[in-house]
Amino acid sequence: MTHRIFISRDASALALGADETAVALQVAARARGLDAAITRVGSRGMVWLEPLVEIENGQGQRIAYGPVSAAQVPELVSADLFNGAPHRLRLGRVEDLPWFARQERLTFARVGLIDPVSLEDYRAHGGYEGLRNALGMASAAIVQEVIDSGLRGRGGAAFPTGIKWKTVLEQPAAQKYVVCNADEGDSGTFSERMLMEGDPFSLIEGMTIAGIAVGATQGYLYVRSEYPHAIRTLREALAIARAREFLGEDLCGSGRTFHLELRVGAGAYICGEETSLLESLEGKRGEVRYRPPLPAIKGLFGQPTVINNGTSLASVPVILQRGAAYHRDFGMGRSRGTMPIQLAGNVLRGGLIEKAFGVTLRELLYDFGGGSLSGRPIRAVQVGGPLGAYMPESQFDTPLDYEAFAAVGAMVGHGGIVVFDDTVDMARMARYAMEFCAVESCGKCTPCRIGSTRGVEVIDRILRGEQRAVNLAQLEQLCETMQHGSLCGLGGMTPFPVMSAVKHFATDFARER
């Protein structure tokens, strides 16, 4: 009998020793004369349980154990792990764990379950049904379906995806483009990486649907160079999709064309800003463009371009597969569907949670996250990356909803939540926000380029206790200039973490050091 075993190949699982565990299991199986077939899958998102080992039992159910280090493998094998025997590391079925069962997995439905580079696995789990439906529809009908789904850009700006597509569809042009912004540079976010490594075909399918919807025959997938594992997985998946005619001149025999090329970034955070990314794709310095014109009208190489975040694009296949209403029925208010939320930093149970909009920060931090990793009180969380506000405990009942977050001066962004315990020095974090902006500024506009450096200097004076009141007033004025005078979100939003730290954690700016 062959024992089927599933272990993640996700970068975070590898970082915690998944390869070593896989090798140890193979060796242990051989030593006992057992036949073990190990499938490498994406991650279920429970990073604190990685390396997670799942063993298929006689009923076709996967029984999970975790975290399993290579050193623990002999002991587990002796306890009859291969037959799903009891052990203190045995977790049972992942689907039955409260952390997992309480999620709504739409975009991440397959991640952790399938072999990411098996087209057969992908199709057996509903993959390419969305494209098949789309190929039978008029362009305008596809776009309308995406509009009706209520999908908004998951990258941070939350602009309605379908409206963006409609604009591109309506442009008369010989050549249009679809660009996937997978330059996931925000600290505390890794959902796109997990998608690219765990279910790359969903992203490829989403881009292909976008292409036929707006009449674009060429797509570019821009991935950051800091993600070598995602790049490798995407390359494998792209080669398979091309060979099997899910990309190319004649998509699934439909006569429609869509080519897709992978491009690798080069370590510039600003290239996550869409116009900067387009400059980078054109082979230039990643300097932000003036808007208008919008990329939908004049984008890559001056042509109408759909540019969407990877999570947004990967959310499209299920909409075309199951209909707009299916997606729209999740969520609250004007935030429809689900959000992949990433719990990161000082949190006991960190990882990826996909949940309908409306879940509160407190539920995420305590029910899912289990509080801080250090066991100390959670003092602050930063939501939405380095440009997101720091939120104090008094705001933890805010529901995850674009409008509700905006109402308290925060943003959902890309759904990353970085948790800090009470040892955090918020004045230092404010300084860091300015320092980061100075390092990553593209240099095109003065408020960002110069303002960030001046911001570091002003905060340093506050930290040294020099004329605190005067310098705090100056910091506020500087932030106002940056917010309103910068060309893009980097300079324009760096004031959010800075001023939220000043507002909610004033004592950290007042104490002697």
């Binding site: 970068a11 080069a266 082979g283 990643g286 970085v418």
Partner: protein, 160 residues
């Protein structure tokens, strides 16, 4: 990370330019290919690239210097990237950062005297639920305490 050069430099560059220069927006793919081949993009490469791409040398230099990933000088045998972003700071990544500088005896941007390691800051490796994160060449490590970093460096130092 540093690749050996069997072919004369000029031939190798010509091969890269021949295969890539025709595609739209080719400069980044070309620079990636050159850095993968030579470990860096030297000032000697710049005029050759500029000529093939019909760009000025200033334009090519401007692109190389804009992106943190491209290096104008050779790096050490291994590149150690330590994450400095918020999620790693939340689990005291600054201790790992400080330890990296102290034990290697270099600052960010530096290379050890024996040429073994170059140390670089990185802003997020996407391993934010298992920080502090460190990447050595293309191998990612999570929960890297100062002690764990010592073990890793020892291991990488002894690799052939």
């Amino acid at each position: 990370m540093t690749a050996s050069t069997d072919l004369p430099v000029a031939t190798a560059i010509d091969d890269i330019l021949d295969s890539l220069a025709g595609q739209p927006g080719a400069l980044l793919p070309i620079l990636h290919a050159i850095q993968a081949r030579f470990g860096h993009v030297s000032s000697e490469h710049v005029p050759v690239i500029a000529k093939a791409m019909n760009l000025s040398r200033a334009e090519v230099h401007g692109v190389i210097s804009f992106y943190h990933h491209f290096r104008a000088h050779p790096a050490g045998r291994h590149i150690v990237q330590v994450c400095r972003a918020e999620a790693c700071q939340a689990v005291h990544g600054e201790r790992t950062e400080e330890h990296a500088r102290t034990c290697l005896g270099i600052d960010f941007g530096g290379t050890t005297a024996d040429g073994q390691f170059s140390l670089e800051p990185v802003f997020c490796l996407g391993n934010c639920a298992a920080g502090p994160s460190v990447m050595i060449d293309e191998t990612l490590y999570g929960r890297v305490s100062p002690e764990r970093l010592d073990e890793l460096l020892q291991d990488w130092r002894s690799r052939p």
